[in-house]
């Protein structure tokens, strides 16, 4: 069983469209995250949720809206997609003490905006 699963794996869409990426974890973790990896492979946090509550909301355009219907799911909706949104987006989850036990990442969603 996949611990953290994201769908879709690949997403190609036109500028101006609205799209969603879904994430689910079956590890029983309380905290979930969205990270963005740019073309230079640098990973930067976008959002973190703990028990469905937003904990961290980094400087991300408000076109990006996370939604957590329950603690096992964290979805990412993006409105009015722009060329600069092209990147790989990773969902992750962790226990209460990620400093000791680390994060479990999904395999990523490669978003290409054309």
């Amino acid at each position: 069983d996949t611990a953290v699963s994201q769908t879709p794996k690949y997403l190609v869409t036109q500028m101006g469209n609205d799209k969603s990426i879904k994430c689910e974890q079956n590890l029983g973790h309380d905290t979930m995250y969205w990270y963005k990896q740019d073309s230079k492979k640098f990973l930067k946090i976008m959002f973190s949720y703990n028990n469905k509550e937003l904990i961290i909301n980094e400087t991300v355009p408000n076109r990006f809206s996370p939604k957590s219907p329950d603690k096992a799911h964290l979805n990412l909706h993006i409105n009015s997609l722009e060329l600069g949104d092209s990147a790989v987006y990773f969902c992750a989850s962790s226990q209460v003490t990620p400093g000791l036990y680390g994060y479990t990442f999904g395999s990523g969603t490669r978003l290409t905006v054309v």
């Binding site: 680390g102 994060y103 999904g106 395999s107």
Partner: protein
């Protein structure tokens, strides 16, 4: 300013060679983690180091945490093509990870 500086940024070596990757900072950390990311996949946790001076071994990989807990290193002995990937030094703070820019390792058969 990057919190975690990794070097080298790129490393291409022949199978069987040894290598060391470094992670440095001016900050003191309660712990540091190392992840490996393979193409098309998410990062996978390799190790967490907590105590200054700590050394942990994972098969051919040796991780060290500096005495002052400001730096860490990853040494790979007799590298194999399966070691190819992006190695990331990471600080796990409250509710977020801070990543170094990574070292992209290519091991040529």
């Amino acid at each position: 300013t990057q919190l975690l500086e990794q070097s080298p940024q790129f490393l291409s070596i022949q199978e069987g060679e040894n290598l060391t990757v470094y992670c440095n900072s001016s900050s003191v950390f309660s712990s540091l983690q190392w992840y490996r990311q393979e193409p098309g996949e998410g990062p996978v946790l390799l190790v967490t180091v907590v105590t200054g001076g700590e050394v942990k071994k994972l098969k051919r990989l040796t991780f060290q945490f500096g005495d002052a807990r400001k730096d860490s290193s990853l040494h790979i002995t007799a590298a194999q093509p399966g070691d190819t990937g992006l190695y990331l030094c990471v600080w796990a703070g409250s509710y977020q990870l801070t990543f170094g820019k990574g070292t992209k390792l290519s091991v040529i058969p």
